[in-house]
């Protein structure tokens, strides 16, 4: 299957419904298995010599923050496809991932705050990383508010897609804020860690498992929410047909 056919396959609502019917529970199941294994390892690994037991916060904070950024990339790509190619399913995909992204971002902020208080001595500081993640949350909320504010669904989708594309500018700021500015938040300790800043091997497994669990959960929830929106669109179309028949 070449790239064009993959694209066609995912933009055909009927094929998408057939695919997501088994893919959503499969992803959900894999996420649950990874999550249980990750949680077991979270409480098996020894506490950190500097951070003590708060190091366990890392296994829920980093996945929430990383996947929140990834979800925004999905929102941006789906918005682009919906806006430029008028793909109805892509528009539904964008609409479906915004609330999940908002919850993941809120979780990153809340768990980060609960980690920051004992380690930094403050719940919040207006440094570049924390502020740019707060801006990310505002983009998610703005997208959802804009979609809900306009009665004309096509206009709402177009306006929200433009907002989502503008918000993509914030992603490199979130990612590189700890390098571009002097921040209280530490630099990357996972994929892009500088030499010596990476996770100790013993913490890598629970971090990887929880990362997979959060990613799988997003995949499953995204598919389920798109399915819901496809059903909703179908129900609205049927309601219109029914009203015409009754005339």
């Amino acid at each position: 299957m070449d790239a064009r056919h993959t694209f066609d396959f995912l933009t055909n609502p009927e094929r998408f419904m057939a695919f997501s019917r088994w893919a959503a529970p499969l992803l959900g199941g894999l996420s649950a298995v990874a999550g249980i294994a990750g949680l077991v390892m979270t409480f098996l690994v020894p506490e950190d010599y500097q951070q003590g037991d708060t190091v366990r916060m890392m296994f829920i904070h980093i996945p929430a923050a990383s996947i929140a950024i990834f979800i925004y990339v999905c929102l941006g790509v789906a918005s682009f496809l919906g806006l430029v190619f008028r793909q109805a399913l892509a528009d539904l995909a964008a609409q479906a991932c915004a609330p999940i992204g908002a919850v993941y971002t809120a979780l990153a902020l809340v768990t980060g705050s609960l980690w920051g208080k004992p380690m930094w001595g403050t719940w919040w500081v207006w440094d570049a990383r924390l502020t740019s993640v707060l801006v990310l949350l505002l983009f998610y909320l703005g997208y959802m508010a804009l979609r809900g504010a306009l009665d004309d669904e096509q206009k709402a989708a177009r306006a929200a897609a433009i907002l989502a594309l503008v918000g993509l500018i914030n992603l490199p700021i979130v990612k590189f804020s700890v390098e571009w500015w002097n921040t209280l938040h530490q630099g990357s300790s996972t994929f892009f860690a500088k030499r010596g800043d990476g996770l100790p091997a013993i913490y890598a497994w629970p971090a990887a498992l929880m990362g997979l669990a959060y990613l799988g959960a997003f995949g499953a929830l995204w598919l389920v929410r798109i399915r819901g929106l496809v059903w909703r669109r179908k129900a609205r179309g049927l309601a219109l047909k029914l009203a015409e028949t009754a005339r």
Binding site: F43, L44, P46, E47, G52, D53, T54, R56, M57, I60, H61, A64, P99, I100, V103, A106, L107, V110, T111, L114, W115, K117, P118, A217, L221, V224, R225, R227, G228, L229, W231, R232, K234, A235, L238, A239, K241, L242, T245, A246
Partner: protein
């Protein structure tokens, strides 16, 4: 290696973080599944009504 659930002086920060995350996931799963089911049932009900209304 044994489980370490004693977070000591950090318990007041650690457990709320895990509890809030668990509640958020429970809410997202319930909301996503229930909303999808509701619209599926609505579409099926309307389709049945339309099939009846058509001669």
């Amino acid at each position: 290696m044994s489980f370490d659930f004693d977070a000591g002086k950090y318990a007041a920060y650690l457990w709320p973080a895990f509890a809030i995350s668990a509640v958020a996931f429970a809410w997202m799963i319930a909301d996503s599944v229930l909303t999808a089911r509701r619209w599926k049932r609505e579409a099926e009900r309307l389709q049945a009504e339309l099939d009846e209304a058509r001669p």
